[in-house]
Protein backbone atom coordinates (compact mmCIF):
# COMPACT_ATOMS: atom_id res chain seq x y z
CA UNK A 1 0.00 0.00 0.00
CA UNK A 2 2.51 2.61 1.31
CA UNK A 3 2.65 5.58 -1.02
CA UNK A 4 -0.73 4.71 -2.51
CA UNK A 5 -2.60 5.38 0.72
CA UNK A 6 -3.93 8.91 0.97
CA UNK A 7 -6.21 10.88 3.25
CA UNK A 8 -8.08 13.25 0.99
CA UNK A 9 -11.26 15.15 0.21
CA UNK A 10 -13.73 13.63 -2.24
CA UNK A 11 -12.87 16.37 -4.69
CA UNK A 12 -9.25 15.24 -4.59
CA UNK A 13 -10.31 11.61 -5.09
CA UNK A 14 -12.11 12.80 -8.24
CA UNK A 15 -8.95 14.57 -9.43
CA UNK A 16 -6.88 11.43 -8.81
CA UNK A 17 -9.43 9.36 -10.74
CA UNK A 18 -9.40 11.79 -13.66
CA UNK A 19 -5.60 11.80 -13.84
CA UNK A 20 -5.54 8.00 -13.60
CA UNK A 21 -7.97 7.89 -16.54
CA UNK A 22 -5.64 10.08 -18.58
CA UNK A 23 -7.32 13.49 -18.35
CA UNK A 24 -5.40 15.90 -20.54
CA UNK A 25 -7.64 18.95 -20.75
CA UNK A 26 -9.66 20.73 -18.08
CA UNK A 27 -11.59 23.95 -18.59
CA UNK A 28 -13.69 25.34 -15.80
CA UNK A 29 -14.80 28.16 -13.59
CA UNK A 30 -14.30 27.64 -9.86
CA UNK A 31 -17.46 27.35 -7.77
CA UNK A 32 -18.14 26.08 -4.23
CA UNK A 33 -18.24 23.21 -3.41
CA UNK A 34 -16.31 21.95 -6.44
CA UNK A 35 -13.47 24.49 -6.33
CA UNK A 36 -10.80 22.08 -5.06
CA UNK A 37 -11.09 20.08 -8.28
CA UNK A 38 -10.11 23.10 -10.39
CA UNK A 39 -7.52 24.20 -7.83
CA UNK A 40 -5.75 20.86 -7.74
CA UNK A 41 -5.85 20.35 -11.49
CA UNK A 42 -4.45 23.84 -12.04
CA UNK A 43 -1.37 22.68 -10.20
CA UNK A 44 -1.21 19.06 -11.40
CA UNK A 45 -2.06 19.21 -15.11
CA UNK A 46 0.68 21.57 -16.35
CA UNK A 47 3.32 19.32 -14.75
CA UNK A 48 2.53 16.60 -17.27
CA UNK A 49 2.15 18.92 -20.23
CA UNK A 50 -1.64 18.72 -20.06
CA UNK A 51 -3.82 21.82 -20.20
CA UNK A 52 -5.79 23.69 -17.56
CA UNK A 53 -7.79 26.73 -18.60
CA UNK A 54 -9.88 28.90 -16.33
CA UNK A 55 -12.69 30.14 -18.56
CA UNK A 56 -14.87 33.21 -18.15
CA UNK A 57 -17.91 31.10 -17.27
CA UNK A 58 -19.36 27.62 -17.52
CA UNK A 59 -20.81 28.09 -21.01
CA UNK A 60 -17.31 28.79 -22.25
CA UNK A 61 -16.00 25.88 -20.21
CA UNK A 62 -18.25 23.27 -21.84
CA UNK A 63 -17.55 24.74 -25.27
CA UNK A 64 -13.81 24.55 -24.67
CA UNK A 65 -14.29 20.94 -23.61
CA UNK A 66 -16.11 20.09 -26.82
CA UNK A 67 -13.37 21.62 -28.96
CA UNK A 68 -10.56 19.98 -27.02
CA UNK A 69 -12.27 16.59 -27.05
CA UNK A 70 -12.62 16.73 -30.83
CA UNK A 71 -8.86 17.20 -31.12
CA UNK A 72 -8.33 13.91 -29.27
CA UNK A 73 -8.08 14.97 -25.62
CA UNK A 74 -9.75 13.34 -22.65
CA UNK A 75 -11.62 16.27 -21.13
CA UNK A 76 -13.40 17.22 -17.92
CA UNK A 77 -14.96 20.21 -16.21
CA UNK A 78 -16.22 20.60 -12.63
CA UNK A 79 -18.95 22.83 -11.32
CA UNK A 80 -21.97 23.10 -9.02
CA UNK A 81 -25.66 23.91 -9.57
CA UNK A 82 -25.46 27.46 -11.01
CA UNK A 83 -22.65 26.45 -13.36
CA UNK A 84 -24.41 23.22 -14.26
CA UNK A 85 -27.38 25.32 -15.43
CA UNK A 86 -25.10 27.22 -17.81
CA UNK A 87 -23.58 23.98 -19.03
CA UNK A 88 -26.92 22.60 -20.24
CA UNK A 89 -26.73 24.25 -23.65
CA UNK A 90 -23.29 22.85 -24.45
CA UNK A 91 -24.26 19.53 -22.90
CA UNK A 92 -27.02 19.17 -25.50
CA UNK A 93 -24.53 20.02 -28.25
CA UNK A 94 -22.13 17.36 -26.95
CA UNK A 95 -24.96 14.81 -26.93
CA UNK A 96 -25.96 15.70 -30.50
CA UNK A 97 -22.42 15.87 -31.88
CA UNK A 98 -21.40 12.78 -29.85
CA UNK A 99 -18.46 14.33 -28.05
CA UNK A 100 -16.86 12.34 -25.21
CA UNK A 101 -16.60 14.57 -22.11
CA UNK A 102 -16.98 14.35 -18.34
CA UNK A 103 -18.91 16.95 -16.35
CA UNK A 104 -18.60 16.92 -12.58
CA UNK A 105 -21.38 18.54 -10.56
CA UNK A 106 -20.64 18.71 -6.84
CA UNK A 107 -24.17 19.50 -5.73
CA UNK A 108 -25.08 22.29 -3.35
CA UNK A 109 -28.48 23.74 -2.47
CA UNK A 110 -30.55 25.40 -5.20
CA UNK A 111 -32.42 26.77 -7.08
CA UNK A 112 -30.29 29.69 -8.24
CA UNK A 113 -27.21 30.48 -6.16
CA UNK A 114 -29.09 28.77 -3.32
CA UNK A 115 -26.90 27.74 -0.40
CA UNK A 116 -23.33 27.44 -1.67
CA UNK A 117 -21.61 25.72 1.23
CA UNK A 118 -24.27 23.18 2.14
CA UNK A 119 -25.32 19.82 0.82
CA UNK A 120 -28.29 18.98 -1.41
CA UNK A 121 -29.01 16.40 -4.08
CA UNK A 122 -31.36 18.58 -6.04
CA UNK A 123 -29.75 18.33 -9.50
CA UNK A 124 -30.61 14.69 -10.17
CA UNK A 125 -33.44 15.42 -12.56
CA UNK A 126 -31.60 18.38 -14.03
CA UNK A 127 -28.84 15.98 -15.02
CA UNK A 128 -31.49 13.88 -16.77
CA UNK A 129 -33.62 16.58 -18.37
CA UNK A 130 -31.72 19.84 -18.01
CA UNK A 131 -30.94 20.24 -21.68
CA UNK A 132 -33.79 20.51 -24.14
CA UNK A 133 -35.01 17.96 -26.62
CA UNK A 134 -35.43 14.22 -26.39
CA UNK A 135 -32.13 12.73 -25.35
CA UNK A 136 -30.41 10.15 -23.18
CA UNK A 137 -27.73 10.83 -20.60
CA UNK A 138 -25.39 8.95 -18.30
CA UNK A 139 -25.02 10.15 -14.70
CA UNK A 140 -22.97 8.42 -12.01
CA UNK A 141 -22.49 9.07 -8.30
CA UNK A 142 -20.65 7.67 -5.27
CA UNK A 143 -20.78 7.67 -1.48
CA UNK A 144 -17.13 7.17 -0.55
CA UNK A 145 -13.79 8.24 -1.89
CA UNK A 146 -12.69 4.89 -3.26
CA UNK A 147 -15.88 4.86 -5.32
CA UNK A 148 -15.51 8.53 -6.29
CA UNK A 149 -12.18 7.52 -7.79
CA UNK A 150 -13.62 4.44 -9.50
CA UNK A 151 -16.70 6.25 -10.83
CA UNK A 152 -14.55 9.03 -12.24
CA UNK A 153 -12.50 6.49 -14.17
CA UNK A 154 -15.74 4.78 -15.22
CA UNK A 155 -17.12 8.11 -16.46
CA UNK A 156 -14.17 8.53 -18.84
CA UNK A 157 -14.54 4.93 -20.01
CA UNK A 158 -18.25 5.34 -20.75
CA UNK A 159 -17.67 8.72 -22.43
CA UNK A 160 -15.09 7.18 -24.79
CA UNK A 161 -16.98 3.94 -25.42
CA UNK A 162 -20.29 5.56 -26.30
CA UNK A 163 -19.06 8.98 -27.52
CA UNK A 164 -21.24 10.73 -24.99
CA UNK A 165 -21.09 13.29 -22.19
CA UNK A 166 -21.12 11.67 -18.73
CA UNK A 167 -22.25 13.57 -15.64
CA UNK A 168 -20.65 12.84 -12.27
CA UNK A 169 -23.14 13.90 -9.61
CA UNK A 170 -21.33 14.24 -6.31
CA UNK A 171 -22.46 16.40 -3.39
CA UNK A 172 -20.94 18.84 -0.90
CA UNK A 173 -20.47 16.28 1.88
CA UNK A 174 -18.66 13.85 -0.40
CA UNK A 175 -16.67 16.66 -2.05
CA UNK A 176 -15.39 18.19 1.17
CA UNK A 177 -15.25 15.21 3.54
CA UNK A 178 -11.83 13.66 4.04
CA UNK A 179 -11.26 9.92 4.30
CA UNK A 180 -8.88 7.24 3.11
CA UNK A 181 -8.21 6.59 -0.55
CA UNK A 182 -5.95 3.86 -1.87
CA UNK A 183 -4.72 4.75 -5.34
CA UNK A 184 -4.86 1.72 -7.63
CA UNK A 185 -1.73 0.81 -9.56
CA UNK A 186 -1.69 1.54 -13.24
CA UNK A 187 -3.40 -1.25 -15.10
CA UNK A 188 -5.48 -2.26 -12.08
CA UNK A 189 -8.60 -0.62 -13.54
CA UNK A 190 -9.26 -1.28 -17.21
CA UNK A 191 -9.13 1.85 -19.34
CA UNK A 192 -10.97 2.60 -22.55
CA UNK A 193 -8.97 4.63 -25.01
CA UNK A 194 -10.48 6.56 -27.86
CA UNK A 195 -11.43 4.59 -30.92
CA UNK A 196 -9.66 6.35 -33.77
CA UNK A 197 -10.36 5.94 -37.44
CA UNK A 198 -8.10 3.81 -39.58
CA UNK A 199 -9.03 5.89 -42.65
CA UNK A 200 -5.83 7.28 -44.13
CA UNK A 201 -5.07 10.84 -45.11
CA UNK A 202 -6.52 11.73 -48.50
CA UNK A 203 -9.32 9.15 -48.15
CA UNK A 204 -12.87 10.31 -47.30
CA UNK A 205 -13.61 10.03 -43.57
CA UNK A 206 -17.25 9.93 -42.47
CA UNK A 207 -17.40 11.12 -38.86
CA UNK A 208 -20.93 9.79 -38.30
CA UNK A 209 -20.81 6.51 -40.18
CA UNK A 210 -21.06 3.74 -37.57
CA UNK A 211 -18.98 0.58 -37.77
CA UNK A 212 -20.62 -2.84 -37.66
CA UNK A 213 -20.74 -2.69 -33.85
CA UNK A 214 -22.38 0.73 -33.87
CA UNK A 215 -19.30 2.61 -32.69
CA UNK A 216 -18.08 5.75 -34.43
CA UNK A 217 -14.31 6.00 -34.86
CA UNK A 218 -13.04 9.56 -34.43
CA UNK A 219 -10.43 11.54 -36.28
CA UNK A 220 -8.56 14.23 -34.36
CA UNK A 221 -9.99 17.56 -35.45
CA UNK A 222 -7.34 19.69 -37.10
CA UNK A 223 -5.54 16.53 -38.17
CA UNK A 224 -5.56 14.86 -41.56
CA UNK A 225 -9.31 14.87 -42.20
CA UNK A 226 -11.65 17.78 -42.75
CA UNK A 227 -15.18 17.27 -41.51
CA UNK A 228 -18.16 19.19 -40.15
CA UNK A 229 -19.52 19.16 -36.59
CA UNK A 230 -22.91 20.65 -35.78
CA UNK A 231 -25.71 20.73 -33.24
CA UNK A 232 -28.21 20.35 -36.07
CA UNK A 233 -29.43 16.94 -37.18
CA UNK A 234 -26.74 15.72 -39.51
CA UNK A 235 -25.84 13.03 -42.00
CA UNK A 236 -22.80 10.74 -41.97
CA UNK A 237 -20.58 13.57 -43.21
CA UNK A 238 -21.67 15.74 -40.31
CA UNK A 239 -23.56 18.17 -42.51
CA UNK A 240 -26.99 19.49 -41.50
CA UNK A 241 -29.98 17.59 -42.79
CA UNK A 242 -33.75 17.88 -42.38
CA UNK A 243 -34.40 14.60 -44.13
CA UNK A 244 -36.95 12.76 -41.98
CA UNK A 245 -35.09 9.46 -42.23
CA UNK A 246 -31.88 11.11 -41.11
CA UNK A 247 -33.61 12.85 -38.18
CA UNK A 248 -35.42 9.71 -37.09
CA UNK A 249 -32.33 7.54 -37.45
CA UNK A 250 -30.07 9.89 -35.52
CA UNK A 251 -32.41 10.45 -32.58
CA UNK A 252 -33.03 6.72 -32.26
CA UNK A 253 -29.28 6.14 -32.39
CA UNK A 254 -28.63 8.75 -29.67
CA UNK A 255 -31.30 7.22 -27.41
CA UNK A 256 -30.51 3.59 -28.09
CA UNK A 257 -26.77 3.74 -27.59
CA UNK A 258 -27.39 4.80 -23.99
CA UNK A 259 -30.78 3.31 -23.07
CA UNK A 260 -30.19 -0.08 -24.69
CA UNK A 261 -26.84 -0.37 -22.99
CA UNK A 262 -28.39 0.47 -19.62
CA UNK A 263 -28.52 -3.19 -18.69
CA UNK A 264 -24.77 -3.42 -19.33
CA UNK A 265 -23.49 -0.65 -17.12
CA UNK A 266 -25.61 0.07 -14.09
CA UNK A 267 -23.29 0.30 -11.12
CA UNK A 268 -24.66 -0.28 -7.66
CA UNK A 269 -23.77 -1.71 -4.26
CA UNK A 270 -26.06 -3.84 -2.15
CA UNK A 271 -26.12 -4.69 1.52
CA UNK A 272 -28.44 -7.37 2.94
CA UNK A 273 -30.91 -6.92 0.08
CA UNK A 274 -31.80 -10.61 -0.28
CA UNK A 275 -33.97 -10.93 2.83
CA UNK A 276 -34.73 -7.26 3.61
CA UNK A 277 -38.17 -6.53 4.99
CA UNK A 278 -37.43 -2.82 4.68
CA UNK A 279 -35.11 -1.89 1.82
CA UNK A 280 -33.47 1.52 1.60
CA UNK A 281 -32.58 2.92 -1.80
CA UNK A 282 -30.08 5.73 -1.61
CA UNK A 283 -26.99 7.28 -3.23
CA UNK A 284 -24.22 9.78 -2.56
CA UNK A 285 -23.70 11.03 0.99
CA UNK A 286 -27.28 10.12 1.99
CA UNK A 287 -26.40 6.45 1.40
CA UNK A 288 -23.86 6.67 4.24
CA UNK A 289 -26.62 7.57 6.69
CA UNK A 290 -28.84 4.80 5.31
CA UNK A 291 -26.02 2.27 5.66
CA UNK A 292 -25.46 3.43 9.23
CA UNK A 293 -29.07 2.61 10.09
CA UNK A 294 -28.96 -0.72 8.24
CA UNK A 295 -25.83 -1.92 10.06
CA UNK A 296 -27.26 -0.92 13.43
CA UNK A 297 -30.61 -2.66 12.76
CA UNK A 298 -28.90 -5.80 11.48
CA UNK A 299 -26.90 -6.04 14.70
CA UNK A 300 -30.27 -6.18 16.45
CA UNK A 301 -31.43 -8.91 14.09
CA UNK A 302 -33.84 -6.74 12.12
CA UNK A 303 -34.13 -7.23 8.39
CA UNK A 304 -33.09 -3.92 6.90
CA UNK A 305 -31.14 -3.64 3.65
CA UNK A 306 -29.67 -1.07 1.33
CA UNK A 307 -29.49 -0.76 -2.43
CA UNK A 308 -26.99 1.99 -3.14
CA UNK A 309 -27.31 3.35 -6.67
CA UNK A 310 -24.17 4.52 -8.42
CA UNK A 311 -25.65 4.77 -11.90
CA UNK A 312 -28.55 7.23 -11.61
CA UNK A 313 -29.12 7.67 -15.36
CA UNK A 314 -30.07 5.73 -17.32
CA UNK A 315 -32.21 4.73 -14.35
CA UNK A 316 -31.55 1.08 -13.44
CA UNK A 317 -35.24 0.02 -13.57
CA UNK A 318 -34.53 -3.69 -13.81
CA UNK A 319 -32.12 -3.76 -10.89
CA UNK A 320 -34.49 -1.74 -8.71
CA UNK A 321 -37.43 -3.96 -9.65
CA UNK A 322 -35.50 -7.14 -8.97
CA UNK A 323 -33.93 -6.08 -5.67
CA UNK A 324 -37.16 -4.68 -4.23
CA UNK A 325 -39.29 -7.69 -5.17
CA UNK A 326 -39.28 -9.27 -1.72
CA UNK A 327 -39.32 -6.13 0.42
CA UNK A 328 -42.42 -5.11 2.34
CA UNK A 329 -41.33 -1.49 2.52
CA UNK A 330 -39.01 0.56 0.32
CA UNK A 331 -37.61 3.78 1.72
CA UNK A 332 -35.80 6.13 -0.65
CA UNK A 333 -33.26 8.22 1.26
CA UNK A 334 -32.19 11.35 -0.58
CA UNK A 335 -31.69 15.09 -0.03
CA UNK A 336 -34.32 16.54 -2.32
CA UNK A 337 -38.10 16.35 -2.49
CA UNK A 338 -38.15 12.91 -4.09
CA UNK A 339 -36.40 12.96 -7.46
CA UNK A 340 -35.12 9.39 -7.37
CA UNK A 341 -38.15 8.35 -5.29
CA UNK A 342 -40.27 9.21 -8.33
CA UNK A 343 -38.23 6.91 -10.57
CA UNK A 344 -38.29 4.15 -7.96
CA UNK A 345 -42.10 4.33 -7.82
CA UNK A 346 -42.21 3.89 -11.58
CA UNK A 347 -39.84 0.93 -11.47
CA UNK A 348 -41.31 -1.20 -8.67
CA UNK A 349 -44.42 -3.28 -8.48
CA UNK A 350 -46.90 -2.00 -5.85
CA UNK A 351 -45.52 1.55 -5.62
CA UNK A 352 -47.66 2.25 -2.55
CA UNK A 353 -44.93 0.58 -0.47
CA UNK A 354 -42.39 3.27 -1.47
CA UNK A 355 -41.68 5.98 1.11
CA UNK A 356 -39.38 8.98 1.10
CA UNK A 357 -36.96 9.86 3.91
CA UNK A 358 -35.47 13.19 2.99
CA UNK A 359 -33.92 16.37 4.26
CA UNK A 360 -33.76 19.59 2.26
CA UNK A 361 -32.32 22.12 4.73
CA UNK A 362 -28.67 21.84 3.70
CA UNK A 363 -27.82 19.41 6.50
CA UNK A 364 -26.74 15.82 5.83
CA UNK A 365 -29.69 13.54 6.61
CA UNK A 366 -28.97 11.77 9.91
CA UNK A 367 -29.65 8.19 10.99
CA UNK A 368 -32.18 9.70 13.45
CA UNK A 369 -34.04 11.39 10.58
CA UNK A 370 -34.32 8.05 8.79
CA UNK A 371 -35.42 6.23 11.93
CA UNK A 372 -38.26 8.70 12.40
CA UNK A 373 -39.63 7.65 9.02
CA UNK A 374 -39.22 3.98 9.93
CA UNK A 375 -41.19 4.61 13.10
CA UNK A 376 -44.01 6.14 11.06
CA UNK A 377 -44.09 3.18 8.67
CA UNK A 378 -43.90 0.41 11.24
CA UNK A 379 -45.95 2.28 13.82
CA UNK A 380 -43.31 1.66 16.47
CA UNK A 381 -39.80 2.59 17.45
CA UNK A 382 -36.94 0.13 17.55
Amino acid sequence: MGGNLKFVQGNEACVEGALYAGLDFFAGYPITPSTEIAELLASRLPKTGAKFIQMEDEIASICALIGASLTGCKVMTATSGPGFSLIQEGLGYAIMAEIPCVIVNVQRGGPSTGIPTRVHQGDVNQARWGTHGDHAIVALTASNHQDVFAMTVEAFNIAETYRTPVVLLFDEVIGHMRERLVLPEHGEIAMVERLKTSVKEGVDYHPYLPREDGRLPMSDFGGVHRYNVTGLYHDMWGFPSDDSDVVDGLLRHLMDKIENQAAHFPKYREFYTEDADCLFISYGSAARSARHVVERRRRLGERFGLLELQTLWPFPHDIVKEKTAGARYIVVVEMNTGQICQSVRLAVSRPERVFLANRIDGVLITPTDIQRVIRLIYGKGF
Binding site: T32, H176, M177, R178, E179, R288, E295, L364, T368
Partner: protein, 181 residues
Protein backbone atom coordinates in the same frame (compact mmCIF):
# COMPACT_ATOMS: atom_id res chain seq x y z
CA UNK B 1 -11.10 -0.16 19.85
CA UNK B 2 -13.79 2.20 21.06
CA UNK B 3 -14.99 4.47 18.28
CA UNK B 4 -13.72 8.00 19.05
CA UNK B 5 -15.68 11.05 18.07
CA UNK B 6 -14.05 14.47 18.24
CA UNK B 7 -15.55 17.92 17.75
CA UNK B 8 -13.11 20.80 17.35
CA UNK B 9 -14.75 24.21 17.62
CA UNK B 10 -13.53 27.76 17.63
CA UNK B 11 -13.24 30.80 15.44
CA UNK B 12 -12.19 30.88 11.81
CA UNK B 13 -8.43 31.44 11.52
CA UNK B 14 -7.53 29.62 14.76
CA UNK B 15 -6.53 26.54 12.80
CA UNK B 16 -9.25 24.36 14.23
CA UNK B 17 -9.91 22.60 10.92
CA UNK B 18 -6.21 22.10 10.18
CA UNK B 19 -5.74 20.49 13.58
CA UNK B 20 -8.68 18.16 12.95
CA UNK B 21 -7.27 17.15 9.56
CA UNK B 22 -3.82 16.43 11.04
CA UNK B 23 -5.31 14.20 13.73
CA UNK B 24 -7.45 12.23 11.28
CA UNK B 25 -4.63 11.97 8.77
CA UNK B 26 -2.27 10.62 11.44
CA UNK B 27 -4.81 7.93 12.30
CA UNK B 28 -5.21 6.83 8.68
CA UNK B 29 -1.65 7.12 7.39
CA UNK B 30 0.35 6.05 10.41
CA UNK B 31 -1.89 3.94 12.64
CA UNK B 32 -3.82 1.94 10.05
CA UNK B 33 -7.15 3.16 11.41
CA UNK B 34 -10.16 4.55 9.62
CA UNK B 35 -11.01 8.20 10.02
CA UNK B 36 -13.36 10.71 8.47
CA UNK B 37 -13.10 14.45 8.87
CA UNK B 38 -15.85 16.89 7.98
CA UNK B 39 -16.42 20.54 8.63
CA UNK B 40 -19.23 23.01 8.53
CA UNK B 41 -18.29 25.58 5.97
CA UNK B 42 -19.50 29.14 6.21
CA UNK B 43 -18.96 31.73 3.53
CA UNK B 44 -16.40 33.63 5.65
CA UNK B 45 -12.64 33.09 5.32
CA UNK B 46 -11.94 34.40 8.83
CA UNK B 47 -14.01 34.97 11.93
CA UNK B 48 -17.36 33.34 12.43
CA UNK B 49 -17.61 30.09 14.31
CA UNK B 50 -16.08 26.98 12.82
CA UNK B 51 -16.50 23.36 13.67
CA UNK B 52 -14.78 20.27 12.45
CA UNK B 53 -15.78 16.70 13.26
CA UNK B 54 -13.43 13.72 13.30
CA UNK B 55 -14.39 10.09 13.79
CA UNK B 56 -11.61 7.53 14.31
CA UNK B 57 -12.35 3.82 14.35
CA UNK B 58 -10.89 0.45 13.44
CA UNK B 59 -14.09 -0.39 11.55
CA UNK B 60 -15.81 1.25 8.59
CA UNK B 61 -17.40 4.65 9.25
CA UNK B 62 -20.66 5.49 7.49
CA UNK B 63 -22.46 8.56 8.84
CA UNK B 64 -19.55 11.01 8.92
CA UNK B 65 -20.84 13.67 11.31
CA UNK B 66 -20.56 13.66 15.09
CA UNK B 67 -23.74 14.15 17.11
CA UNK B 68 -22.29 13.38 20.56
CA UNK B 69 -18.52 13.74 20.84
CA UNK B 70 -16.32 11.84 23.30
CA UNK B 71 -13.86 14.68 23.01
CA UNK B 72 -14.95 18.27 22.62
CA UNK B 73 -12.51 21.12 22.11
CA UNK B 74 -13.76 24.71 22.45
CA UNK B 75 -11.38 27.54 21.66
CA UNK B 76 -13.86 30.43 21.95
CA UNK B 77 -16.57 31.38 24.43
CA UNK B 78 -19.12 31.29 21.63
CA UNK B 79 -18.23 27.74 20.64
CA UNK B 80 -18.25 26.65 24.29
CA UNK B 81 -21.70 28.13 24.81
CA UNK B 82 -22.95 26.50 21.65
CA UNK B 83 -21.46 23.03 21.89
CA UNK B 84 -20.73 22.15 25.53
CA UNK B 85 -24.14 20.53 25.89
CA UNK B 86 -23.57 18.01 23.08
CA UNK B 87 -20.67 16.29 24.86
CA UNK B 88 -21.21 12.60 25.56
CA UNK B 89 -21.57 11.92 29.30
CA UNK B 90 -18.22 10.89 30.73
CA UNK B 91 -16.42 12.54 27.83
CA UNK B 92 -13.53 14.95 27.74
CA UNK B 93 -13.94 18.71 27.42
CA UNK B 94 -10.87 20.79 26.60
CA UNK B 95 -11.04 24.58 26.67
CA UNK B 96 -8.46 27.33 26.44
CA UNK B 97 -8.14 29.48 29.55
CA UNK B 98 -7.60 32.70 27.65
CA UNK B 99 -10.71 32.46 25.53
CA UNK B 100 -13.20 30.41 27.49
CA UNK B 101 -14.73 30.79 30.92
CA UNK B 102 -16.57 27.57 31.70
CA UNK B 103 -19.91 28.18 33.36
CA UNK B 104 -21.48 24.79 33.66
CA UNK B 105 -20.52 21.59 35.34
CA UNK B 106 -20.90 18.82 32.85
CA UNK B 107 -20.61 15.11 33.43
CA UNK B 108 -17.17 15.04 31.86
CA UNK B 109 -13.50 15.41 32.52
CA UNK B 110 -12.99 19.14 32.12
CA UNK B 111 -9.55 20.44 31.23
CA UNK B 112 -8.97 24.15 31.13
CA UNK B 113 -5.51 24.58 29.72
CA UNK B 114 -3.48 27.74 29.01
CA UNK B 115 -2.68 26.60 25.47
CA UNK B 116 -2.75 30.00 23.80
CA UNK B 117 -0.66 31.64 26.55
CA UNK B 118 1.89 28.83 26.49
CA UNK B 119 2.31 28.99 22.74
CA UNK B 120 2.75 32.74 22.96
CA UNK B 121 5.15 32.67 25.95
CA UNK B 122 7.38 29.81 24.94
CA UNK B 123 7.36 30.14 21.18
CA UNK B 124 6.43 33.76 20.75
CA UNK B 125 3.94 33.09 17.99
CA UNK B 126 0.27 32.26 18.53
CA UNK B 127 0.05 30.80 15.04
CA UNK B 128 0.91 27.39 16.49
CA UNK B 129 -1.89 27.60 19.05
CA UNK B 130 -3.79 24.89 17.18
CA UNK B 131 -0.84 22.48 17.21
CA UNK B 132 -0.35 23.11 20.92
CA UNK B 133 -4.04 22.23 21.38
CA UNK B 134 -3.55 19.10 19.28
CA UNK B 135 -0.67 18.02 21.53
CA UNK B 136 -2.92 18.33 24.57
CA UNK B 137 -5.85 16.55 22.91
CA UNK B 138 -3.63 13.69 21.77
CA UNK B 139 -2.03 13.25 25.16
CA UNK B 140 -5.36 13.23 26.96
CA UNK B 141 -7.43 11.19 24.49
CA UNK B 142 -4.69 8.65 23.66
CA UNK B 143 -6.37 7.64 20.39
CA UNK B 144 -3.30 8.23 18.21
CA UNK B 145 0.35 8.49 19.18
CA UNK B 146 2.17 11.82 19.34
CA UNK B 147 4.79 10.24 17.11
CA UNK B 148 2.21 9.80 14.33
CA UNK B 149 1.32 13.48 14.56
CA UNK B 150 5.00 14.42 14.35
CA UNK B 151 5.27 12.45 11.12
CA UNK B 152 2.30 14.33 9.65
CA UNK B 153 3.84 17.65 10.69
CA UNK B 154 7.05 16.66 8.91
CA UNK B 155 5.06 15.90 5.77
CA UNK B 156 2.83 18.96 5.82
CA UNK B 157 4.73 21.83 7.41
CA UNK B 158 7.32 23.83 5.43
CA UNK B 159 10.85 23.22 6.86
CA UNK B 160 11.21 26.78 8.18
CA UNK B 161 8.22 26.32 10.48
CA UNK B 162 8.64 22.68 11.41
CA UNK B 163 10.61 23.16 14.62
CA UNK B 164 8.08 25.70 15.88
CA UNK B 165 5.26 23.24 15.29
CA UNK B 166 7.13 20.35 16.90
CA UNK B 167 7.72 22.44 20.00
CA UNK B 168 4.08 23.53 20.11
CA UNK B 169 2.99 19.89 20.00
CA UNK B 170 5.30 19.02 22.89
CA UNK B 171 4.19 22.05 24.92
CA UNK B 172 0.55 21.02 24.52
CA UNK B 173 1.31 17.44 25.52
CA UNK B 174 3.26 18.67 28.53
CA UNK B 175 0.34 20.88 29.64
CA UNK B 176 -1.91 17.85 29.43
CA UNK B 177 0.48 15.66 31.45
CA UNK B 178 0.76 18.31 34.16
CA UNK B 179 -3.02 18.57 34.37
CA UNK B 180 -3.21 14.81 34.94
CA UNK B 181 -0.66 14.88 37.74
Amino acid sequence: MQRSRFVFSGSGGQGVITAAIILAEAAVLHENLNAVQTQVYGAEARGGSTRSDVIISDSEIFFPKVTQPNVLVCLTQESYNKFSRILRPGGLLITDTRYVRTSRTVDAVQKQLPMYESALDKIGNPIVFNICMLGAVTELSKVVKLESLRKILEERVPPAFLEMNRRALDIGAELARKSEA
